[in-house]
Subunit: 360 residues, 2 copies
């Protein structure tokens, strides 16, 4: 039995693939409901990768999780918000009758002599292989005692008054853009020398969508402090004190917004991997280096310098992982399915290509 | 000598390819300057295909014209306006030292016993092969005696007052969205049963970008008449009368906006092709069926039902055409260049894949 933990784009994408391969002995365990993380996004947040139905000409929608499909086509939108993407995942799950057990929280994964024992709120589950497909959004990195993490925001309309934003990535920029739109003053504090607005790999920089949105912010409402790390946020009942690494303190009555990122592997499962700087070390085929048979799929995957933190990237490893699992079971992957995945850029094994620099 | 007519994305993309292949005996003849058509777009118009630098993972920017490149990366934008895309083309032309003769208008192409004689405002030019790469924007279809064609609009700010818009394609929708944003009332008249908002091929429907923009128009300012063809626009010095095929007449003091499309082949060159319903019949390798050695490249290309009217589509035929020309000259295409084009989805020969329907 293959156990997949999490029914987001990774879990549902893997389930779809297994159905195509006619492998029925799998189950996706989902703590809440299919696509749950997306429903908890801030109401205003959209996928930063644009959807476009170019798959007829070999350019698969950046947010598709299966070949020959397009959220842009189905949802008639280019930048899809969390709720609609969650609905899209539910649609795929029901249309292709993908096995999901909802409301099942996996609390621990215990490696056995052979296979794994999963401890869940619905009892024990035995699995031969386990694929972690939890995503990142539901395990925010909370570095400080105070601060509203990006993941905690239901809607930016709730966030009133001048705010300190801590961070420099996509979520910090999104917070800044949304508060700016509401006319709120913002002080952005981040540790980079400057905001990284260009890099050939979109995972290392701000997306074109966000760069474009930044062009229309009102700069008079924004102050930026580069090159400073926040070391502490304290609260005395009235004021929040934000302390920087050089000792400077900024005081504010409004709780700061902390855009301090997400765990690439849920903390509860980190002891199953060799962790290094918050990242899981993986075999060439995305398995744990400590426990063969346990795989990581989704945005948390890293292979040396290659970062898979976009749907259009991590979907290219679905078949790599499934192929390895089936091989260990003596099952050959159906050639027709494999060629579909290859044709639609959903099967990436040669990672040397992934750091291509831009010519123009 | 290979003569290329037009220095837009098609001409510059072909020039780049020839440079890569070390073929130096070519010239791009451009009536005005590199990227000219884009500079004449309405100021507010943007490319409807979103740019994203996904080429490191096999997903080439939809608006790129060469492998391993990305306008999103270079311009730091997702939806690029005409002026910036024109600048982008100029950048490529100068960076790769692509041969262009500006200010050279080709007035006629005369097939000779062998090759072609091009009549231009700079004198006669002899060419062995000719590639028409004129694009469509600079040859609008003007079906009526009156009306401001979409191509004539410099900025929507110039267009004041309630307007009749004629058409149902991308340009009609863009006109509607821009006028709506300015608070102008619009009457949209078009011949379709309803606005075609979904089709698996983006060339047959409205783009996700435009669908999304349509979600935020103010519907109170818009009236739509489906299923009616405009047969005439007359003007008595005060009022414009727009006559429909059922005899109904709409009168307005403001000149109607005609979004009646563009010629796929400039009228002056149409006699060089077998034309059928306004489309050029082409060989399997995009040559004129009347004059071998004359090719059509760019948005006007059709192969049976396959429509190439997006950059991400028509760029896939650059190498197909160049390969055919070089073959006739006894030159083999460099395998390394070819494999780059194949790897980045820029070499499409099997057209059976292009009508893939969507699964989701």
């Amino acid at each position: 039995m293959i156990a997949i933990i999490g029914a987001g784009p990774t879990g549902i994408g893997l389930g779809y693939l297994l159905e195509q391969l006619n492998v029925k002995d799998y189950m996706i365990y989902e703590r809440e409901t299919v696509g749950e993380s997306f429903y908890t996004w801030p109401k205003e947040t959209k996928l930063i990768t644009p959807s476009f139905n170019g798959h007829g000409f070999g350019l698969l929608d950046l947010n598709a999780i299966m070949p020959d499909s397009s959220p842009a086509f189905t949802l008639k939108q280019e930048h899809i918000n969390g709720e609609r993407y969650g609905e899209y995942l539910q649609l795929i799950q029901s249309q292709f009758e993908i096995n999901v057990t909802e409301g099942c929280e996996i609390e621990a994964i215990e490696p056995q002599d052979k296979g794994f024992l999963l401890k869940s709120n619905q009892g024990d589950i035995e699995a031969d292989h386990v694929i972690l497909a939890c995503g990142e959004f539901n395990t925010p990195k909370r570095l400080f005692d105070y601060g509203i993490h990006y993941a905690d925001v239901e809607t930016w309309k709730d966030i009133e008054g001048e705010r300190i934003i801590i961070g420099s990535g996509e979520s910090a920029m999104d917070a800044l853009i949304n508060l700016n739109k509401q006319g709120e003053r913002v002080l952005l504090i981040h540790p980079e020398k400057s905001l990284v607005l260009n890099h050939h790999d979109p995972s290392q920089t701000i997306s074109p969508y966000t760069k474009e949105r930044l062009l229309s912010v009102n700069p008079e409402l924004i102050r930026v402090i580069n090159n400073k790390r926040v070391t502490n946020i304290s609260f005395d009942g009235t004021m929040y004190d934000v302390t920087l690494d050089d000792g400077e303190v900024f005081s504010t009555t409004n709780e700061p917004i902390t855009c301090t990122g997400f765990h690439t592997v849920p903390p509860v499962f980190q002891q199953l991997f060799e962790m290094e700087n918050g990242l899981a070390k993986l075999t060439e085929l995305d398995a744990s280096t400590k426990f063969p048979g346990l795989y990581l799929c989704g945005p948390g995957v890293r292979q040396s310098d290659v970062i898979f933190c976009f749907i259009y990237k991590f979907r290219q490893r679905f078949l790599v992982v499934i192929e390895d699992i089936l091989k260990s079971m003596g099952i050959e992957v159906d050639e027709e399915v494999k060629s579909d995945y290859i044709r639609q850029n959903m099967y990436l094994t040669d990672l040397s290509c992934c750091n291509t620099e831009c010519q123009c």
